[in-house]
Symmetry: C2
Subunit: 127 residues, 2 copies
């Protein structure tokens, strides 16, 4: 097992950058701990540690939009990884956008780019 | 000024993913606070907050390898940004590699890809 430096942060979490394996677009960033890292290597599906729910999170467990791992890169300090993935269902963001990074800084303001690919209330249920 | 959610983390830092503006390769990840964010917007050069030195860090201040900002994307939660940059001097990593993510997971092991573009001891001085 490849050892990452989870001890670097006080909460034992390190960031995982998620990139579309074919276009190179950054889809999202989430956090992993040792358990999420091991589950990802074991299953080939991206697992994270949900900071809001404080539990292991298989991306797509609610929406079905899982992320199939194509490649994993590790940085020089062993404290950040890149997951190159195939995004099932096209959209990675809980807003329905393909990428969480759907806003661009234009002259000091944020401009939304693209339109959601699904309606979050249909996928996650109304709250 | 665009307000990011620096308060989400206990240390006031949020991650900035740095991507080559032409190839889409992820070059590095570093952290920003409000000061670094403002300096980046103001100057068009990537600034970070160095966690090891606990000070504002103009990337390239020692090596000359500054990062010229081409585009900035902000995520759905206002707690992560993507800087699309032109990397002056070609290499972003302190090891001399173009990207900090120069190791790939192959069958449970890390395989180094590519060779350093500069000798760190020449750029940063011997210690």
């Amino acid at each position: 097992m490849i050892e990452l430096n989870f001890g670097k942060s006080s909460d034992g979490l390190i960031p995982a950058i998620v990139q579309d394996h074919s276009t190179g677009d950054v889809l999202m960033l989430a956090y992993i701990n040792k358990l999420a890292w091991e589950k990802t290597l074991e299953t080939g599906k991206a697992h994270y540690w949900s900071r809001s729910r404080n539990k292991l999170w298989l991306k797509g467990e609610s929406s079905g939009n899982v992320q199939m791992i194509h490649d994993i890169l590790v940085d020089c300090d062993d404290d950040t990884v890149v997951y190159k993935v195939e995004q099932i269902g096209d959209a990675a963001c809980h807003t329905g956008h393909r990428s969480c990074f759907y806003r661009r800084v234009i002259e000091g303001n944020l401009q939304v780019e693209g339109t959601p690919l699904f309606d979050p209330s249909e996928v996650y249920g109304k709250k």
